[in-house]
Symmetry: C2
Subunit: 444 residues, 2 copies
């Protein structure tokens, strides 16, 4: 099997036979968009329509979307479409003029966070949010050192790519960046994740200082999404947060993936750990597909940045972005989607655990709410990561028309993220298809 060593679940030319129309689209794409884009799957999918939890290809086949965490209240949600259309017709102006929408939304969004988090700034993308958070953290701390987990992804601006090790060996980490092992509950030597993780973060702080670099921040997402989906035990982040604070640095909660109810137990992933971030970054599902993202945080952290370096983002926090985001928040709250993520997520997790009793390839089941990880191994006792089988399962699921992907340092954890609106029936559909694919793998 041909694979792209730099990206999990990337399409690799020649790995599978493609139908002529797919092959032609890929040729045109390479010609027009160039060599830096990557598609998913051995046989990429061409979608033409989405509705709720389902995507439809050009032949009208329905795919259950258990991966895309942008449209988390469902593809084409009418309330978001209506809010965006109405506002685009009315006014699109930016934050250099006064408009109500951005304030109404900031007030509502901040009310979902601990009371210490008092300001919200707007960007367009999660990458821009993390990039802005770094600028703010540097101005507040006077430091530049950054600590991340070893397979973390935080974004693609130049500054953020330098602390996104999951972009692969060819994208150099910054000289001011240190990585720590993910809080791997499956392979922990001591079983004390909290103590292990705190020790690693402290060692990274010490190493930064040894090199004359003042720590600015420790950043992680609430579910360690790219590292392999590590959910617990709840509270294990406390020691790491205390360590960075003691070193004069900030704790930044990257909620671009784990925010807006995704983890089921609360609106924000960090809340599962009972810690208070200095800055919280957010994006992807914030506008259910409309580009909107942001940085929230404690007011004192913004003071120096605001005094010296004004911020303007042309589209960030414009009237349309604020309305799209408000519609999403309304739907999440009025339809009880955090609770649904919790209950259907728990149901799915139980289902994966039941599969584990029947399939030796399932080494571990993790996650919270609608962010789940299923670790695939070739030997359960030795916990041997099996990236090849993981890839076959992901592609097998795509052939069964269920969209998932994979993650982790060893590329052997199924990354499963159904829409927040997904039902038990859809969970059953996914579980059934996964069992079919696991059985087929076992036969091969």
């Amino acid at each position: 099997m041909k694979t792209d060593t730099a990206m999990i679940n990337a399409f690799v030319e020649g790995a599978a036979t493609l139908d002529p129309s797919t092959a032609e689209l890929i040729t045109r794409r390479k010609k027009l968009l160039g060599p830096a884009y990557r598609l998913f799957y051995e046989r990429p999918v061409h979608f033409v329509r989405g509705e709720g939890a389902w995507l439809y290809d050009a032949e009208g086949n329905a795919y259950l979307d258990a991966y895309n965490n942008v449209t988390s209240i469902g593809h084409g949600h009418p309330k978001v479409v209506e809010a965006v259309s109405r506002q685009m017709e009315t006014l699109t102006t930016n934050t250099r003029y006064l408009h109500d929408h951005v304030l109404l939304y900031a007030d509502r969004l901040l009310s979902t966070m601990p009371p210490e988090i008092g300001h919200l700034m707007f960007t367009c993308t999660g990458s821009e949010a993390n990039d802005l958070a770094v600028r703010i953290a540097e101005s507040f701390t006077g430091g530049t050192g950054i600590i991340v987990t070893e397979t973390a992804y935080h974004g693609v601006t130049q500054a953020v790519a330098r602390f996104s090790p999951s972009l692969g060996q060819n994208v150099a980490l910054g000289v001011h960046v240190r990585t720590v092992p993910a809080p791997d509950s499956y392979r922990s030597a001591t079983g004390d994740i909290a103590a292990e993780f705190t020790t690693h973060v402290q060692a990274a702080i010490d190493d930064l200082r040894r090199h004359g670099i003042k720590p600015a921040l420790f950043i992680c997402d609430g579910i360690f999404a790219s590292d392999g989906v590590f959910d617990g035990p709840a509270g294990f982040l406390k020691g790491a947060v205390k360590a960075i604070h003691d070193a004069g640095g900030l704790y930044i909660a990257d909620e671009v993936q784990s925010g807006f109810g995704r983890t089921g137990e609360a609106m924000w992933g960090f809340q599962r750990h009972g810690v208070l971030p200095d800055l919280v970054t957010m994006g992807k599902p914030m506008g259910n597909g409309h580009p909107v993202a942001g940085v929230a945080g404690r007011p004192e952290v913004f003071a120096e940045f605001g005094r010296t370096a004004r911020y303007f983002n042309t589209f960030g926090g414009n009237a349309v972005a604020a309305q799209a985001a408000m519609a999403v928040l309304n739907v999440i709250q009025s339809e009880g989607l955090v609770e649904n993520a919790q209950s259907v997520g728990a149901y799915l997790k139980d289902g994966f655990r039941a599969l584990a009793t029947r399939h030796a390839a399932v080494g571990d089941v993790r996650g919270a709410g609608m962010f789940l990880g299923v670790e695939i191994v070739s030997n359960r006792a030795a916990k041997t990561a099996d990236a090849e089988k993981t890839s076959r399962i992901v592609n097998g699921m795509r052939e069964e028309r269920v969209l998932i992907s994979a993650c982790a340092k060893s590329a052997n954890v199924l990354k499963i993220r159904p829409q927040l609106t997904s039902t038990r029936a859809e969970a059953d559909f996914l579980l059934g298809k996964l069992e079919t694919v696991l059985l087929r793998q076992a036969d091969e």
Copy 2:
């Protein structure tokens, strides 16, 4: 008069008396969004609706928008609203799946450029486009040195802010950044702008090398927007482009402000100079308010970046962004807006020149198409910049309900950018109001 030394035309608390509802909005804004945001004008404006070239405040007063270069085909253009609504309802997926829209658009957009420009990559914002362009330029050249004009603005990511001197003294330039004086046709010592500018760029290249820094790129926009709107003579960029090429660096045309017909003579600002960029960045008006931006360029420049560092931008080039951008391009081409920018822009420029014969404060009139600059001086013979009077004119125009702003190193150039759709009647309205304000200034 109280002013914000770091930003031209920024609202400063206490500079003017505000009505209670404006004051209350500003208080809420500061509480919710924090200290880093800046408003325009001594008395900020609260808009609630836009249509065509006009914005309306909460009392229903109409303002002629001769500043906002995002909604350049007019506020709330129905074709863009319709394209966005329809596509949001249908599908919003990203570039990890195949979809037609992004390819159809890339093909159309590239057809507006010289044939050597063969690829188009998508981002959400102009800042992200310039940030990506730097990453591509570094991978292609193996260098890091950057040359910009001394009051340039290219964006707000950490990497791009480091070569955006117009952000002010408090935002440090990178150690790998060199600035060159703007091509100031008004104050040129020799009158040979081309030779002067080439000499400055060559000196910057030499200085980078003297410090052991390999040049990566020279970047400028086609109209030197923040430097003071310098339009000519056409072709003066050729020497600077040859110098950076001879040094192994790239020439990046930042068309975020000067692109999409803004300069009237062509679709792209660089075309006025008869030069071929290695990379072209674009944004603001590309989606008429919907967030979409991109980097086009010569295919060989993308090769190394594509090989080593894949690129994915969640919202960049999604199906909605592609449809919004396609609607804008259709309107620009089918309604002849480049030609309109050229003819109404020339009419306006003639009008400003006529004002100059009657008002000693007008030292120089510059610009191309719908991107015009009017330089305000206190002494014509000495060409003494008058930032105070410039600010009074900008705020006077706001009181007359015409939106313009100012730019340049000495903050004394009126920056005037009507919509591409603006009519001669709207140009007359603007000219009439400017004369009223100039007469009032002369009396004070």
